[in-house]
Structures are given as C-alpha cells and as structure tokens.
C-alpha cells in the first residue's frame, strides 16, 4: 500500500507541476500564435506588395547535396551547346562566371572549364521578378543547376566560347555558393600581358596567383596549359611504348647523392639520413644492365638549387629515357628526337584550341620544328657564335646568353625552335660521359634545345667499369661513394645512352611562356612550399 501512496503523492506533485507547465505551455502557444499571425501578416503584406510569386519553386538555394536522391537527369556539357541543340530544354551544371542585371533581365555567363555560354533570365511567364533578382544576386563562381531552353542567336556572342547559342533559363538552383569576396578576379587573371597597364585595369601578380592557385587554375589559360601538359605526358608515354620502351618506377629516397652532392635535399631517415633523388639516372642505367633494353620513367625529381630564376624549380617532373643501342649513340639521339617530334606533332594536331587559348593571354610565335630533327655539332655552334662576334674558347661551355643567341642564329638559318647540339667538349660534361673515339677533347654527348633554352642533356654513358674508374679519378671523385654505381657495370653491360627532360620546361617553351611556375601546378621553389 505504501507503494501506492507514494505513487499517489508523486502523481499529485506531478499534477501540480503539470498545471504549472500547462499554464506555461498555454502562454507559449499564445505567443507562438501571435508570432505566426505576425508572420502570416508579414508574408501577406509582402505578397500583397510584391504580388504573388508564381515562380517560387523555380529557383532557390538547394540543400547541401548529401546524396539524398539519385536523379536520372542528364546534364549537358557547355561545350556541346551547338546550334543543333536549338529549342531543346536541357539541364546544365556550371559556374556563374559573371552576372549582370538590367531591369527585368539578368544576363549570366555560365562557365564549365574553358567553355562558357551566355544565359538569360527575363521576367515573363516562366520567371518572376523575384527570380530575376535572385539570379542577379548569385555570387560569382557559385555552382548552379540550370534548366533552360537553347536558343540560336542572330549576332555571334563574341565574349563566349559558345558563340552561336544562348540559354533562356527556366529554373535555377544554387548547388554551392561562393564567398562574395574573391581573392582575385578571373577576368583580371586572364588579361593579356601589358593590356591591363595601359587601361589602368587590375593585373594579378604571380604570387597572388600562386597563393590562390585553386582560383587561378580555373582560368581558361590555366585550364589550357594543364590540359596540354597532360597531353605531353600522354604523347610521351604513347610514343615510347610504341617504340618498345618499358615504363619503370624508380625510388626517390636514395642513400647517396648521384651527382656531386651539392644540390641535394637531405631528409632524416630513421636513425640516419637519406637524400631525395636528383635524377633517376643510376636506376635507369641499372635497368639497362638488367636487360630491359629500353626504359623510360615519369616522376618527380628534386634539386636543392637556391636559384630564383624563371626556369628553376626545386621539384619538377622528369621525363627520363635510357636505352641500349647497337653500334652508335646516334641511335639514341634519333629515338629521343623522334619522340619529341611526335609530341610536337601531336600537340600541333590535337591541342590547337588550347594553344590558341594560351596565346590569347601570352602571345607567342607558333612552335616550329624539323623532321628529322636538325643535329649540329658543337664546333659548328662555336663557329656560328664566333661569326656573330662572340669570343669563346673551343672547350668552353655555352653560357646562358650564348645559348639564347645560338638559338636565334639557328632559328634564323634553319627556322626551327628545336635542335640537337652534339659532341660537347669532354671537359664540361660529367665523369660518366663516353669520350669521343677520334678526338679526346670531345665526347659522345648532346644537349637538346627548345626556343634557345636547354631542355635535355644526355650522353652515351661509359659502360665499362675500368674506364669509369679512370674518368672518376680524373674528376677527383671519391670512388667509395660511387662504388655501387661502378659495380653495376662489372657483370657485362650493353652500350647505352639516354637523357632526361623537364616536363614543366617543355610545356613552358612549347607555349612560349616566360615562367616555369605557370606550367607547374603547385610549384616548389626556394621561396614557396605552399599550397
């Protein structure tokens, strides 16, 4: 019984409490009712003042896409918007590039990568005044879903890539909103060199671009550059694979500096230290000794050079080739130059729109080349430079200004931006370079140039341990440090040669750009580690 009593007592208490609560609830309900009334009034007022928004469900900010539903909606690509699609109702997802409201109309430029199209929201039977206002207020760079009617235009729209059609928007929903303040404006970032200064318009400097790389990469120019770069890689792989080369992967953390050791990054490696690979050369050569015959590799290369020039990076992508040859190292030169020519041809034939896009911002002459590639000898280069009034010794290396001058002279005579300079003096090449058989002053080594700048340096390597030791001693290199390298040639090695190309430099020079940072997606130089 006591239990019941207790229960009864608690019930009473509860009742007492609930009475209070009820009162409270009543009050709150009244408040809410009042609020609702007010809101209803407000809404009614709005509606009465701004007339009924019949297009309410045709625009808005969509809830964050968390994969709530899987729509079977097909989205059309901007680049596919051609006059054939005229009068079709399509769905499209794109970024708002610019928007411009004008009375009862709002013009939007919708962008997808390097393609853009003009779109129009106009007050009519599909769109209300509010919808136009909403469209005009969408921040630049926001991503929107749009349902629109494709219409042919009578006058070409010069400012867009899709010049023959425009979109008449029927529905517009924001998928992802951009912050209203952008760190840089896209139109400033694609302004042609020098143009901005004349008209007093803003230009974006290199560092601002690199600090906000994500936005800078959205520009048509950047899009084109990196599409072309991907094309270079693709063509490099395809051409070499067709020639019977094998792609290899080499380690990037190595125990000993491969060349000298002055410009190598040291990293801590458990209880000792290791280095970042300056080039995959040692491993390429070991693969040759291991009978892979012809190999190439695409991978990062690290150089700890504290030089802040337009063409040096501390990390870049190396395209490396190494091959065994039968009798003459020109077989290697022929393979490499043919690969380069195939790349240039592929770019010329398949990437013309990208090249044109980059040219709009950074005008340059089209890249010219010869097939088969022109090969000059070092002595000829020296003769050409001397004829032009340069004083230099027979065995001096080419200085950078002389390289450029030689590039101009060769261009003038042969009209080619790509050539090979063969037979460098032995004195200016690394110790593993094979000396010339007839003249000990020269060597079986070569450099390749694009627009007067060196892109590849290669040679026939010494494949004989005995001669390699001699040459190393001549260069006063500590034999202990390169023991592993020399040892790899002790068990029979085929004659071989090769070279390495910097991907960023090739892209930069092909497009005639002036800074290698433009062709590196997230460049690393002595002053930049982010983003």
């Amino acid at each position: 019984m006591t239990k019941e009593e207790v229960r009864g007592a608690t019930e009473e208490e509860q009742q007492a409490q609930s009475k209070k609560a009820l009162k409270k609830q009543q009050k709150e309900a009244e408040k809410a009712a009042k609020k609702a009334e007010k809101q209803a009034k407000l809404a009614a007022e709005q509606q009465s003042t701004e007339e009924d928004d019949f297009a309410k469900d045709r625009y808005g900010v969509l809830a964050m896409v968390q994969s709530q539903q899987k729509l079977d909606r097909t989205l059309v690509r901007v680049q596919d918007l051609t006059p054939e699609k005229a009068d079709q109702l399509i769905w499209l997802r794109a970024r708002v590039h610019t928007s411009r409201a004008k009375g009862k109309q709002c013009f939007l430029v919708l962008r997808q990568q390097q393609f853009n199209v003009q779109a129009l929201v106009a007050v009519g039977d599909r769109a209300s005044k509010q919808m136009v206002k909403f469209a005009a207020n969408i921040t630049k760079e926001s991503i929107v879903d749009v349902e629109a009617l494709v219409r042919k235009v009578e006058q070409k729209i010069e400012s867009c890539s899709q010049q023959d059609v425009e979109l008449h928007i029927e529905r517009i929903f924001v998928i992802s909103q951009a912050e209203p303040r952008l760190p840089l404006q896209l139109e400033d970032a694609v302004r042609a060199d020098g143009e901005g200064e004349e008209e007093g318009r803003a230009t974006v400097n290199q560092d601002t671009r690199l600090d906000n790389r994500v936005i800078d990469l959205r520009t048509t120019t950047s899009q084109a550059i990196f599409r072309l770069q991907s094309g270079v890689c693709q063509l490099f792989r395809d051409t070499l694979t067709k020639k019977g080369f094998v792609e290899i992967q080499t380690p990037k953390i190595i125990s000993a500096a491969s060349e000298g050791g002055a410009n190598v990054f040291t990293v801590s490696y458990f209880k000792t230290s290791a280095y970042l690979a300056q080039s995959p050369q040692l491993y390429k050569q070991m693969c040759i000794c291991a009978d892979f015959d012809k190999v190439f590799c695409v991978g990062p290369v690290f150089r700890a050079e504290d030089s802040n020039t337009h063409r040096h990076l501390t990390e870049f992508v190396g395209l490396d080739i190494e091959m065994a040859f039968n009798y003459h190292y020109h077989e290697v030169i022929d393979s490499i130059t043919d690969t380069m020519v195939q790349i240039f041809k592929g770019l010329r034939d398949n990437f013309q729109t990208e090249i044109q896009t980059v040219n709009k911002q950074f005008p340059s002459e089209p890249f010219k080349f010869l097939e088969p590639t022109l090969r000059l000898e070092f002595t000829e280069a020296v003769a050409m430079l001397r004829e032009a009034g340069v004083e230099m010794g027979d065995e001096d290396d080419l200085s950078t200004p002389n390289e450029k001058l030689l590039g101009r002279l060769v261009k003038e005579k042969y009209d080619t931006d790509f050539y090979v300079l063969d037979k460098y003096p032995l004195a200016v090449r690394p110790f593993y370079t094979m000396p010339d058989p007839s003249n000990p002053k020269y060597s079986n080594s070569y450099d390749m140039f694009m627009r007067g700048e060196e892109i590849l340096s290669g040679a026939q390597r010494i494949h004989d341990a005995q001669l390699l030791t001699e040459r190393a001693l001549h260069h006063q290199i500590d034999l202990e440090k390169i023991k592993a390298y020399i040892d790899s040639f002790r068990y029979g090695a085929p004659p071989h040669g090769g070279g390495g190309i910097g991907l960023e430099r090739v892209c930069m020079l092909y497009l005639g750009l002036h800074n290698v940072r433009q062709t590196s997606m997230f460049p690393r130089d002595p002053k930049r580690l982010t983003p």
Partner: protein, 323 residues
C-alpha cells in the same frame, strides 16, 4: 750609251707657278730616272727569268686548252648526235676520266667562294615548297656531290603536314659517314617548307637569303665552275636561265610554245644553248622543259638536245621525281 742622245724637250727642274689653292702632288717626271736602269738590261738582250716562266706557263696552258678543246669536240660529237646512243652506265663510268665537258673542272675553291673556313661544316640551307620541287637544284646537288664531300640532309618543316616519300629521298641515300658532320666539306640541307618562293640561306651574318630557284641555281653552279669570263656569254647564260624559270615553268601554253621555238632555233645553230659548252642554261632549261611536260611535243632540235642532255647522265635525280 749605245744610242744617240736627245736633248730634253723641257728642263727637268722647270719652275712652274703652281696655284696654292689646291693640295700638292709630287712631280711625276722627276721619278722617271729610276726605271731607266732595268730597261737598259732588257735592251741588252737579257730576258727576265720571270717573263720566261710566264711564257712557259702560258704555252703549257694553251697546250692543255687545245687538248681539252679536242677532247670536248670529240665528246660533243658523240653526245650531241642522237645516233651515238651512249649507254647510261657506260657514260657514267667514263665521265670521271674522260668527259671533261660534263664534270666541271674549274679553278673554284670553296674558301674563296664561301668565305673563310671557321673549322666547321659550311651548310647551305634550302627551303623549298613540296608543291614545286626544285629539279634544277637536285641536278646541281648531284653534280656537287661528284665534286666535293657533301653532307646531304632532307628535313620536313612543321609548316608542312606531310611530304611524299620520293621527296624525302630525293638527295639520294644517306652517306655512310653522315654521323660525323665535321668530315664533310659542304652541307646541303633541303627543308620542305611552306614557302611562297624557294629560299637559300648560307651565312646568316654576312649574307641575305637568296630567293628564287634561278638565283640559287646560279649560286650553286658557281661552286662547280666559274661563270664564263666573257660578259656577253655570261649574259646569254643568265637570260636563258631566266627564260626557263619565268616563261617555261610559270607561263601559259602559248608562251611556252614560243620559248620552245626559240630553243629550237638556237639549238639549230649550236649544240648547247650558250655556245659549244654545256652550261647552267642547259641544266635549267632541260629541267623546266621536263617539268612543264612539253618534252614530247618539242620540235626536232629541242628533241635532239633533250636526248643529248639525257646522255650526260646528270639528270636522273630530276627524272626520278617526275615519274
């Protein structure tokens, strides 16, 4: 003094009142005395050894020239008469020793013609449009190859999409030593390129590009043989070269027929276009007649001359391309 003396007409130290408004010159007459002594020696009957040597050399040259003339005439007879149908293989095997008229042996020297040797290959670069292959230059190239160590290379410029294979091999097979450019005397680099006019570049610093096939042909021919020293003959050769390139190759059928008539009448008078010697005029005209496709419809003298040209065996590179 073996001879009588004559009183001087004027006094040696004559006082002349010279005007002072102009600069002064030394008296010419006062210097005459020095040369008198050597004249005396000659008048004594002693012949200067230098003159003797000169005379001997002249005699020798004349003798050689007569021999050459005889050889040439003999050969010209066999070549210009269509009946003497020399087998091509025979003529080419003979030419290095006997036929002095067809392998030009001038006193040309590359150093004097192309400038000082800088210790590197002297490379002649020719930009030609694949639509108009320069037949004359190909013929001259093969003649140059007989004369010098020529490194011949063919390239395709990126302005041209593709080139038929016979144009790529038009300079003949690759030289066995082509890997060592320094071993050659002369470079002949042919680049197939989208150019409106054929172009030749040699030295970028000291020379402007030479335009037009005719002009380049003249340049190359000078490397083979000196131009005729007789200005009239040189002009004749020049005018035939121009006629060939401007009227045979580029003009209408009517004008071509007129040129063929002119050729016919000239060839009626002499075996070759510019007189008794085979010259650039013949090379250029032959190639242009062949290129214009009027070889079969040519009049009799021209037909005979065409055949004579063919017998020389220099024109195979051009004929290969036209097939």
């Amino acid at each position: 003094m073996p001879m009588y003396q004559v009183k001087p007409i004027y006094r040696r130290e004559m006082e002349i009142d010279l005007p002072t408004c102009m600069y002064k010159l030394p008296n010419i007459h006062s210097q005459q005395g020095n040369s008198c002594t050597s004249e005396h020696a000659l008048q004594n009957g002693e012949v200067d050894p230098a003159v003797k040597a000169l005379e001997a050399r002249q005699d020798e040259i004349m003798k050689k020239l007569y021999e050459l003339k005889a050889a040439v005439e003999g050969l010209a007879k066999t070549v210009t008469t269509p009946d003497a149908d020399l087998d091509l293989t025979v003529s080419s095997s003979l030419s290095p020793q006997s036929s002095s008229s067809t392998t030009f042996k001038g006193t040309t020297d590359l150093d004097t013609l192309l400038g000082k040797d800088l210790g590197a290959l002297r490379d002649i670069v020719i930009n030609a449009n694949p639509a108009q292959p320069p037949l004359t230059l190909l013929v001259l190239h093969s003649l140059l190859c007989q004369r010098y160590r020529v490194l011949s290379t063919v390239h395709v410029h990126s302005s041209v999409a593709s080139v038929p294979p016979q144009l790529l091999s038009c300079l003949g097979p690759r030289h066995a030593d082509s890997y060592a450019r320094h071993m050659f005397q002369l470079g002949f680099t042919l680049i197939w390129k989208d150019v409106p006019k054929l172009q030749m570049k040699f030295s970028v610093q000291n020379m402007c590009p030479i335009e037009g096939e005719a002009n380049v042909a003249r340049f190359l021919f000078k490397l083979l043989a000196p131009y005729p020293s007789d200005p009239a003959l040189a002009t004749l050769v020049d005018s035939w070269v121009d006629t060939a390139f401007f009227q045979l190759a580029e003009c209408s059928a009517k004008e071509r027929a007129a040129v063929l008539r002119a050729l016919n009448s000239t060839l009626g008078r002499s075996p070759w276009l510019a007189g008794p010697e085979f010259s650039l005029a013949d090379i250029a005209s032959y190639c242009c007649v062949l290129q214009s496709g009027s070889a079969s419809s040519a009049p009799a003298n021209v037909q005979r001359w065409l055949k004579a040209c063919e017998n020389l065996g220099h024109f195979s590179p051009a004929k290969v391309l036209l097939q």
